[in-house]
């Protein structure tokens, strides 16, 4: 309840009239006096109030424009997502173009058709078939390395098995150490199911993690020098005569959208210069093949030829000197 009315005195009248006069005077103030006076009031008494008013108006603007800003943010996010996909596809297509220019001839570009249904986890459908020259067992490669192998061919499309397929095998070798083995899918549980195994590595060979494994070219299906994967670690197995290594594949089939299918003529002529890693492996393979040939010849000669013919083989060239040393050593004893 407000207080009761007070008496209306002369002093109040004087004050009221004075205030009215001051107000009228303020209205009539010239600019040169009014502006500094108003400025002083704004910068002193009104300053904090103007500041909070500014904040309040900003809050109101933010509130009013929130839907617009959300729509803009969503649009930008959508564009950014599309941009990432476009950049990724652009990068991949550039790599494919680079692979095509490196291969120069003997390949068919193909698009991997989407269709990963049940039972299609380890196979890929390609958009090119026998009309383009693709034959069964043609290698399927990507810029990163080996993808798989064509299994069946139709006139306009073909089915290939990826390296994750249980039936997939490739003869492979370590680039640095010239160690050979057979690479196939790692049939363990998820998530290791999408790794590779390199089996049959001799016990004397110890591969370090990170070692690049490429196709060896043995067997004729896959040309030499296609990256298959990199060593992760050695696996513990019950085999006592060979080592098995776990590999991280060079290509993830799920990420592949465009591939190259190597034609038979290209497979025969090799692709060592494409991935630039097969030079040392080439010499290693030649030496091992030559060694295998000489050993085979030696075996044949051992079983059929006379002992004096053995020194003729390149693989045991020092046998000539051995009898000489023996004869020279025995000579003094025979003479007397």
């Amino acid at each position: 309840m407000p207080p009761a009315a007070r008496a209306f005195g002369r002093r109040d009248t004087v004050l009221f009239v004075s205030c009215l006069v001051l107000a009228f005077a303020a209205i009539q103030l010239p600019d040169r006096i009014r502006d500094p006076l108003a400025s002083t009031l704004r910068q002193t008494i009104l300053a904090p109030l103007v500041a909070i008013q500014s904040d309040a108006e900003q809050s109101r603007r933010s509130w009013l424009t929130r839907e617009t800003r959300e729509a803009q943010r969503d649009s930008i996010a959508l564009r950014a997502m599309s941009l990432d996909a476009a950049l990724s596809e652009n990068d991949r297509l550039r790599k494919i173009l680079g692979l095509g220019s490196s291969l120069k001839w003997g390949f068919v570009p193909a698009e991997v058709l989407q269709g990963r249904g049940v039972g299609e986890e380890y196979t890929i459908t390609l958009s090119a078939g026998s009309r383009a020259g693709i034959r069964p067992f043609s290698p399927v490669v990507a810029p990163e390395g080996l993808v798989g192998m064509v299994k069946s061919v139709d006139p306009t499309m073909s089915i290939a098995i990826a390296w994750a397929h249980p039936d997939f095998r490739v003869s492979a070798m370590a680039v640095d150490d010239a160690v050979f083995g057979i690479v196939g899918a790692h049939l363990g549980g998820e998530p290791e199911r999408y790794l590779l195994e390199m089996r049959g590595v001799p016990m004397r060979s110890n591969l370090k993690p990170g070692t690049l494994i490429v196709s060896s070219g043995l067997g004729g299906t896959f040309p030499r020098g296609i990256p298959v994967g990199t060593i992760i670690a050695e696996m513990k197995t019950s085999e006592l005569w060979a080592r098995t290594y776990l590999l991280r594949p060079a290509v993830a089939p799920a990420d592949v959208s465009d591939v190259m299918v190597l034609l038979p003529a290209r497979t025969t002529s090799g692709v060592q210069t494409v991935w630039k890693i097969g030079l040392k492996a080439d010499s290693a393979v030649k030496s091992i093949v030559a060694a295998g040939d000489s050993l085979a010849r030696l075996t044949r000669h051992d079983s059929t030829a006379a002992p004096d013919s053995i020194p003729k083989h390149d693989s045991i060239p020092k046998r000539d000197s051995i009898p000489k040393r023996d004869s020279s050593a025995r000579a003094p004893r025979v003479t007397p």
């Binding site: 309840m1 407000p2 109040d12 009221f16 009215l20 209205i27 108003a38 704004r42 008494i45």
Partner: protein, 162 residues
């Protein structure tokens, strides 16, 4: 006025002034509540008419400092309504809701009339629209907010027992 009443009134006045510079811009209405008028009226009915006129002059001058083209018009209007409110407080503040609402409505409308006429910045047509369309609307909104303010600040504005 007792010191406790003075502090209470000052607190209510500060709250209303702050609301004028926060809630009003937040609402952003064309016909928004004028918390400065409410604050001035609430203070004016608790002081002598002369003091009310002085408070109205100060509040008006501060408010006019952001509108230098009508500098002094707000001070004149606020002085007039503060003095009148203080003079008529026994009539209006009979603890009746409708009377209080009418008090705020008339106070705000009177303020606008004096302000527009003293400022004289628009032509007759615009002034007529302002005085007879927007000003009553603003006065009505101010009256509603004034009543709400009275209800909310009742614990503060209640006079201490003598």
């Amino acid at each position: 006025m007792r010191p406790t009443d003075f502090v209470r009134t000052l607190l209510a006045f500060i709250i209303l002034v702050v609301l004028h510079y926060t809630l009003r811009p937040l609402l952003g209405w064309r016909a928004g509540p004028d918390f400065l008028v409410i604050a001035t009226l609430l203070v004016a009915i608790r002081v002598r008419p002369g003091a009310a006129a002085l408070i109205g002059l100060c509040v008006g001058l501060v408010a006019d400092s952001v509108d230098i083209h009508a500098f002094g018009a707000g001070a004149l209007a606020m002085t007039a309504i503060a003095f009148t409110a203080s003079w008529l407080k026994a009539v209006f503040f009979a603890d009746d809701v409708l009377l209080n609402a009418l008090f705020f409505f008339l106070g705000k409308w009177a303020f606008d009339i004096i302000y527009v006429l003293a400022g004289a910045r628009a032509d007759a047509g615009q002034m007529a629209v302002q005085l007879f369309v927007w000003s009553p609307l603003t006065a009505a909104v101010t009256a509603i907010f004034g009543l709400v303010t009275l209800l909310i600040l009742r614990p503060i504005l209640r006079a201490s027992p003598s």
